[in-house]
Structures are given as structure tokens and as C-alpha cells.
């Protein structure tokens, strides 16, 4: 079985806050974040 994967739609405050928490807890999970603009969260 391949790696488990989380997809995040939106790389601003909520999306990046969630992604960073998940990364700390699940070092092996694959996390893909999609962001429409050229910028990710500037404060999360």
C-alpha cells in the first residue's frame, strides 16, 4: 500500500495552519497543498 495522502485546498491562514500541525504529528504523511495565488500564508 502506498503512502497516505492529505490534500489541502488553499495555502493561506487555515490551510497552512492545518498543514503544519499535521506535519508535526504525522512526519510520514504525504501533504499536498494547492494555492491559486503566488503567495502562501504570511502569518500562520
Amino acid at each position: 500500500m502506498g503512502k497516505k495522502r492529505l490534500v489541502v485546498i488553499g495555502g493561506d491562514a487555515a490551510g497552512m495552519s492545518a498543514a503544519s500541525q499535521v506535519r508535526r504529528r504525522k512526519p510520514d504523511l504525504e501533504i499536498l497543498v494547492f494555492e491559486r495565488s503566488p503567495y502562501t500564508s504570511y502569518a500562520a
Binding site: 492529505l6 491562514a13 495552519s17
Partner: protein, 361 residues
């Protein structure tokens, strides 16, 4: 489960499979469905990218006359930015005062502050369309006049960007925001959501509520991440706290305002006091107005609003905390708040307002 992704650099589409999905699609500015509203020169400002774009246009095309539609947080803060750049700023507001998340008596102080810094303010006036020339905006047509404009800013609020979720069959709640539980789970297994696209819970009204603020988004995102990562945490909800400013005047609110309390059918008392941000004799002490609202009889604290000079706005955090704690005025009156002349009168202005309100109970 999978999601379709389009690469904006080459237009190619592909499917990406997932085990868990986090929807954090945010909010989009409300665009009025008015003649000419898709003309060039009309901007909604709600992302870093849109803010940078407006600044680039101001720098390069040097528009002289800007019309802002809507006197909320975005309208206020954009008005300040344009005034500081020496532009001619008009603001159209459909209500009797700007900042309609404040009661009108407090909003009036903000309207006055806007006019004081040179904003031409048109209250109880609504935009009905745009005059355009070659696809570019030339003027804003209101129900009362035509306002020449080189640039138009839409500050009419935002709505949840939830169409992707809706099309996937995920249930929505108030104002079309995505329904989530306390763990930030949508009603579809394995799909989570947080931020400006979701419905929140209002701790004071005890009802579903929609709020689009980065503070809430960060907290909800954190909770979603902990839960997706196998933990168990819940988000308790919001009390509706927000701050803004227009040049030297700070504006803050938390909890319920009069019209929201009316809607809940509660009887309430209010008190509004004028005091000073520091001891009256201390250099740079200035005016602060505090309004508090509480349930009649029980004294349950329901909300507060503050307008004043530097040092005024962050006092709202004491009131927000009291709402989280479910305090009555009687419990608030003895809060051991800090005092020294550079920071506060000996009775902090928020406590003076609480004392006044207690007399009405």
C-alpha cells in the same frame, strides 16, 4: 476520493487522489450585480495578491479620485491608505453610519473620524451602477449622484468561497458557509474545513455564525490539523471580536450589538461613557468612548464597543475574555486590571462603562 487540479501556468488539468481532504478556500469579495461592475478599475481587496495589485496600480497609474463602496473594515483601511497617499477619497455607505458592526451611535464616531481626515462620506446612499469608457470605470452612479472615479474599491464584505464544496455535495450552513463540527469535520467523512469558508458558532448568541477573519482561520486551521494528525481537539466558537483604525482613531467591537440582541428577543441595558486612554494629567492622554451591553436583570455581559485614540482598541480584549468566561457585570467590576498613569485612569474606561451599566440593571 480525488480532486481535479488545474495548473494555472499551463492550463493543464489532472486528478489528485487523497485519503483526507482539507478545504481552506477562504472567502471572496461580494461583487454587486450592477451595470458595469466587471469594468476595469474596480477592485475587491481580500487577499495579499489583490492588495499588491491595487498598490501596483496606485503606484503606476496614479489614479487621483478613488470611490470606496462600503464602510466596513476593508473600506476604512483602504480609505486610510489612500488618504495617506494624498488621493481624493469618497466613500459610499448604504447605512446611516459606517462600521455597521457597531451600533449607530458608536459608528457615528467613526464616520466623524473619516470626515476629519478628509474622506468625503456619503451615508444612506447606494451604488446603482458604473459609468465606463472603453471597458474602464469612469464614475460610480449612486441613487443620488454620479461620482467621477479613476479607481473603485469594493468593500461590501465577503462571502464564503464554498462552491467547490457545494458542488461536491458537502452541506452548507449560514450564509452559504461550509457546515463543520467542533473538530472542523464537514459532514462528509475524511473531508475537513476551516477558515473564511466555514460556519462558526457564536458563544454569546449560541447560534451558528459566519465570520471571515484571519485570527479565527488560524485557530480553526490548527484544530483541524491536530485532528487530521490523529489528535482530538475542539474549537469552542467565537465572540465576534474585531479591531480596525482610521488614521489616529481606533475602533473595536466584541459580542452582540443592539440589533443582534433585539433579534434574539432579549431585554438589555446599555451604558456609554467617555473617558481617557491614560490618566488625564499624563502626556498624550486622549479620548476613549466605551459602550457595553448586558442582559437586563441577570446582568449577563453581551457585548462591547470602543472608539478612541491610540491605546483604546486593545482594551476590547478584556471584554472579549469576559464574554468567553460568561461573566456578569457584577463579576467584571472587580477584575484586577492594570493601572499606572501612562496606561489608564485609576478606573479603567471599560470598568467605568461596566459600573454605569450596572446602574441600569
Amino acid at each position: 476520493m480525488r480532486v481535479k487540479v488545474r495548473d494555472l501556468e499551463n492550463g493543464k488539468e489532472r486528478w489528485e487522489p487523497f485519503d483526507q481532504l482539507m478545504i481552506a478556500t477562504g472567502a471572496v469579495p461580494i461583487r454587486p450585480d450592477l451595470p458595469g461592475s466587471d469594468a476595469e478599475g474596480i477592485y475587491g481587496v481580500n487577499t495579499l495578491q489583490s492588495g499588491i495589485e491595487v498598490r501596483r496600480i496606485v503606484d503606476q497609474e496614479k489614479p487621483k479620485r478613488v470611490v470606496i463602496i462600503g464602510g466596513g473594515y476593508i473600506g476604512l483601511e483602504m480609505a486610510e491608505a489612500f488618504i495617506l497617499r494624498g488621493m481624493d477619497v469618497s466613500l459610499v455607505e448604504s447605512s446611516s453610519e459606517v462600521m455597521n458592526t457597531l451600533d449607530s451611535d458608536m459608528g457615528n464616531l467613526v464616520s466623524e473620524a473619516l470626515m476629519c481626515v478628509g474622506v468625503k462620506l456619503f451615508r444612506e446612499e447606494t451604488a446603482e451602477g458604473f459609468e465606463t469608457d472603453n471597458g474602464k470605470v469612469k464614475a460610480v452612479i449612486t441613487d443620488k449622484r454620479s461620482m467621477p472615479a479613476d479607481m473603485v474599491i469594493l468593500g461590501m464584505g465577503v462571502r464564503p468561497n464554498s462552491s467547490l464544496a457545494e458542488n461536491a455535495g458537502i452541506p452548507l450552513g449560514v450564509k452559504g458557509a461550509i457546515k463543520v463540527n467542533e473538530r472542523m469535520q464537514t459532514e462528509v467523512e475524511g473531508i475537513w474545513s476551516a477558515g473564511d469558508c466555514v460556519e462558526s458558532y457564536h458563544i454569546v448568541s449560541r447560534k451558528p455564525f459566519y465570520v471571515a477573519l484571519g485570527t479565527v482561520a488560524n485557530k480553526q486551521g490548527r484544530i483541524a490539523g491536530i485532528n487530521i494528525g490523529g489528535g482530538y481537539k475542539t474549537f469552542p466558537g467565537v465572540v465576534g471580536t474585531a479591531v480596525s483604525k482610521i488614521c489616529a482613531v481606533e475602533v473595536a467591537r466584541t459580542g452582540l450589538q443592539e440589533k443582534e440582541i433585539h433579534r434574539l428577543g432579549l431585554e438589555f441595558v446599555t451604558a456609554k461613557i467617555k473617558s481617557h486612554t491614560r490618566a488625564r494629567y499624563y502626556p498624550d492622554a486622549g479620548p476613549i468612548t466605551v459602550k457595553v451591553l448586558a442582559e437586563k436583570g441577570s446582568g449577563r455581559f453581551l457585548g462591547g464597543q470602543i472608539v478612541g485614540i491610540e491605546g483604546a482598541a486593545k482594551r476590547i480584549d478584556v471584554l472579549a475574555t469576559a464574554l468567553h468566561a460568561g461573566f456578569t457585570l457584577d463579576q467584571m467590576i472587580h477584575l484586577d486590571l492594570s493601572y499606572a498613569p501612562p496606561y489608564s485612569p485609576v478606573w479603567d474606561p471599560v470598568l467605568i462603562a461596566v459600573r454605569m451599566a450596572m446602574k441600569q440593571l
